[in-house]
């Protein structure tokens, strides 16, 4: 996973609240097979006039079409667990999303893809939104946990220390568990087989699936 240390960019302002993952990435595109290229479908239904003369969606309007930071409203990424919402944001070029609150599954999906979600209180959020609307660059410094404005001011943000480390070092969560915790997992399984054996399906139970087929029409 790509490491995240500092990032400087204009931020795209999207002040709407409750932008759920169906709006971020409409369901019919979930049939697409790859992570790559999903930025094309990001906010698809909102981007009605991508390069025409009329008013365009903010992400198709310079300079925000190059933005790597998204500032948006409350309850961003609620709803469906589809990780495509994060893949589409990342493919579009976003590495940081700032909002007053997020859907929980979306929030944790971000960290698996090198995208930093930042939760800000109302006043700070309004501050950052204003800078985004004025197309003033922001610097996200993850190590220092601050958002710096071009006028030198800075806002601090919170982040879970483990998640911070995985982003900064670009760590592979699976690799970490396999390297550090295998013995503990094996010990747990042995204990569970003793204490709660019904949680492990037996060979005999699994024969239930032996005759799966296309018998109904």
């Amino acid at each position: 996973m790509e490491k995240f240390t500092t990032l400087t960019s204009v931020a795209a302002p999207l002040p709407e609240t409750h932008l759920d993952t169906d709006v971020i990435f409409p369901a019919r595109f979930l049939l697409l097979p790859d992570k790559k290229g999903l930025g094309e479908q990001l906010f698809n239904e909102r981007r009605v006039n991508r390069d025409g003369d009329g008013p365009r969606f903010v992400l198709d309007t310079p300079p925000w079409n190059e933005a790597r930071i998204l500032v948006t409203g409350r309850a961003f990424g609620t709803g469906s667990s589809r990780e495509q919402a994060v893949w589409a944001l990342a493919d579009f070029g976003f590495r940081c999303v700032i909002a007053p609150s997020f859907g929980e599954i979306f929030f944790s999906n971000c960290f698996k893809n090198g995208v930093l979600p930042i939760v800000l209180g109302e006043a700070e959020h309004a501050d950052v939104m204003a800078k985004a609307e004025q197309a003033l660059p922001l610097t996200i410094d993850l190590e220092a946990q601050e958002i710096r404005f071009s006028d030198g001011r800075a806002i601090a943000f919170d982040i879970d220390p483990h998640r911070k480390r995985t982003l900064i070092e670009g760590l592979d969560e699976i690799g970490l568990i396999l390297a550090d915790d295998q013995a503990d997992i094996a010990a747990f399984e042995a204990r569970q087989r003793e204490q709660n054996p019904w949680l492990h399906l037996t060979r005999e139970q699994l024969t239930f699936f032996d005759d799966v087929g296309e018998e109904l029409r």
Partner: protein, 468 residues
């Protein structure tokens, strides 16, 4: 030591280890695998040359993209067919049981998990799908995860998690006529908001819960995610045991007795403390329908479309206006005047046999309005076969409904079942988001009997007005 909640007990019994930062490596007993969230996870495993730690802990089924008619023909070549065949290939390559579309065990993951006895009390269960909270109805910790997390579960059978706060939703009273658990959960979401359960694991408790069937408990827990919570649970009791007993993958014989003894100890202790408590008097709830584009934008069907001008908070006013614009509604209009084009009865929220029985009882001897196109999509093949054995398919067909095969269907519009732009639907599903049932489609959420009543009336209707 103060008492522990149901959530605490199941959590503690699955904690492999606790890290320095207080997070937990949680053991995962069960993983349901579907076609939308698994391909990238399997790809990741292949790329790294990793294997499944326990192939026996997963079951795979394609539910989102499958068609609900013409199932005797091969899927038309295209993205959906490729997505399904990718799941078939991956399941085979990694040794996971796969249930084909025309198998008698097929269905929506959250319907078949319980049906097969794959879902058990006191277990941990995940799926790359946000409505995994459904399985909490059994007293399991069950939650939706992303595709990357599915990969972690495949490879390690664990997931690193921070414990949620605990919320108890206390339900008292008995529901009035025409009021179902769908109305209760919609009323709860309207009350606490779509962020109300954020950061919390919800436990539904109180006298009204004891009276609920397992299927009703599943409907209740299913929409916990719409209240902002990944986890919604009900403590297992005699109703739970009676449902699980004899299911194909449930423990049997002496093992059953041992399991039940353990499950009886899972209920929250009397002195357990919840971080947040919410109370709801079920007797005071009327049948609900959603009118907007988030599940909290829901009102009793006797109400009227809200007026943004009456909203003092500017952000809320904008949000309200946006919902009304999308939904094509005028402030002050009685909800019962809203005409509909389509009706969808189905989904992991309301696609079970009791749902179909109740909808059929409303439809019996009546007919769908001529302006309405109505479909019923059983949540599983098991539900479909049971309904056919009871003659419910005839009732639906006679009333003018199309009778389909199992799948997610118009809940998510990934197959051919969808709304066209501007079409309005009375739906028993769980999400009324913009475009959820098809680009530009407009969704009103409600119970199966309310959807049946709407089908007959051709507009949103109060099932209590139909009489018997």
């Amino acid at each position: 030591m103060t008492g522990r909640t149901l959530y605490d007990k199941v959590w503690d019994s699955h904690a492999v280890k606790t890290y320095d930062d207080g997070s937990t490596l949680l053991y995962v007993d069960r993983h349901l695998v579907q076609e939308v969230s698994s391909p990238q996870a399997f790809d990741g495993l292949k790329e790294m040359g990793r294997r499944l730690r326990r192939p026996d802990a997963h079951v795979a089924v394609a539910d989102h993209a499958v068609p609900t008619r013409l199932r005797n023909q091969p899927l038309p070549d295209g993205l959906a067919a490729r997505q399904v065949s990718r799941l078939v290939d991956n399941a085979k390559a990694f040794g996971v049981p796969y249930i084909p579309m025309n198998d008698r065990r097929h269905g929506i993951v959250h319907v078949i998990g319980p049906e097969l006895g794959f879902t058990l009390p006191g277990a941990t269960l995940v799926c790359g799908d946000s409505h995994t909270c459904t399985h909490g109805a059994f007293g399991a910790i069950a939650f939706g995860i992303g595709a990357s997390e599915c990969e972690t579960v495949f490879a390690t059978q664990t997931i690193r998690q921070t414990k949620q706060k605990r919320m108890r939703v206390w339900l008292s009273g008995a529901p009035g006529p025409g009021v179902t658990v769908k109305d209760i959960i919609l009323a709860l979401i309207a009350k606490i908001g779509t962020g109300g359960g954020f950061g919390h694991a919800i436990e539904y408790a109180g006298p009204a819960i004891a009276a609920l069937s397992m299927e009703s408990r599943m409907t209740l827990c299913n929409m916990s995610i719409e209240a902002g919570s990944r986890v919604g649970m009900v403590a297992p009791d005699e109703t739970t045991f009676a449902y699980v007993k004899g299911r194909p993958l449930a423990p049997a014989g002496a093992m059953w007795d041992r399991a039940v003894a353990e499950w009886r100890s899972l209920a929250s202790d009397a002195d357990a403390v919840f971080d947040t408590e919410v109370e709801l008097d079920v007797a005071a709830i009327a049948p609900h329908v959603s009118w907007g584009t988030t599940p909290e934008e829901t009102l009793p069907v006797t109400g009227a479309v809200p007026d943004p001008a009456a909203e003092t908070d500017p952000a809320r006013r904008t949000r309200l206006q946006k919902s009304l614009d999308y939904m094509g509604l005028t402030p002050g209009m009685p909800l019962r005047d809203i005409a509909i084009d389509k009706v969808f009865i189905g989904s992991c929220t309301n696609g079970r046999i009791e749902d179909l029985r109740r909808a059929a009882s409303v439809l019996s001897g009546r007919h769908v309005a001529p302006t309405v196109h109505a479909i019923v999509v059983p949540g599983s093949a098991g539900v479909r076969l049971q309904a056919e054995a009871e003659g419910l398919d005839r009732v639906f067909r006679d009333a003018g409904f199309e009778w389909r095969a199992s799948g997610c269907s118009m809940c998510v519009a990934m197959n051919d079942d969808r709304l066209e732009a501007g079409e309005r639907c009375a739906s028993t599903s769980n999400r009324n988001f913009e475009g959820r049932q098809g680009k530009g489609g407009r969704t009103h959420l409600m119970s199966p009997e309310m959807a049946a009543a709407a089908a007959v009336a051709g507009r949103l209707a109060d099932v209590r007005d139909l009489g018997n």
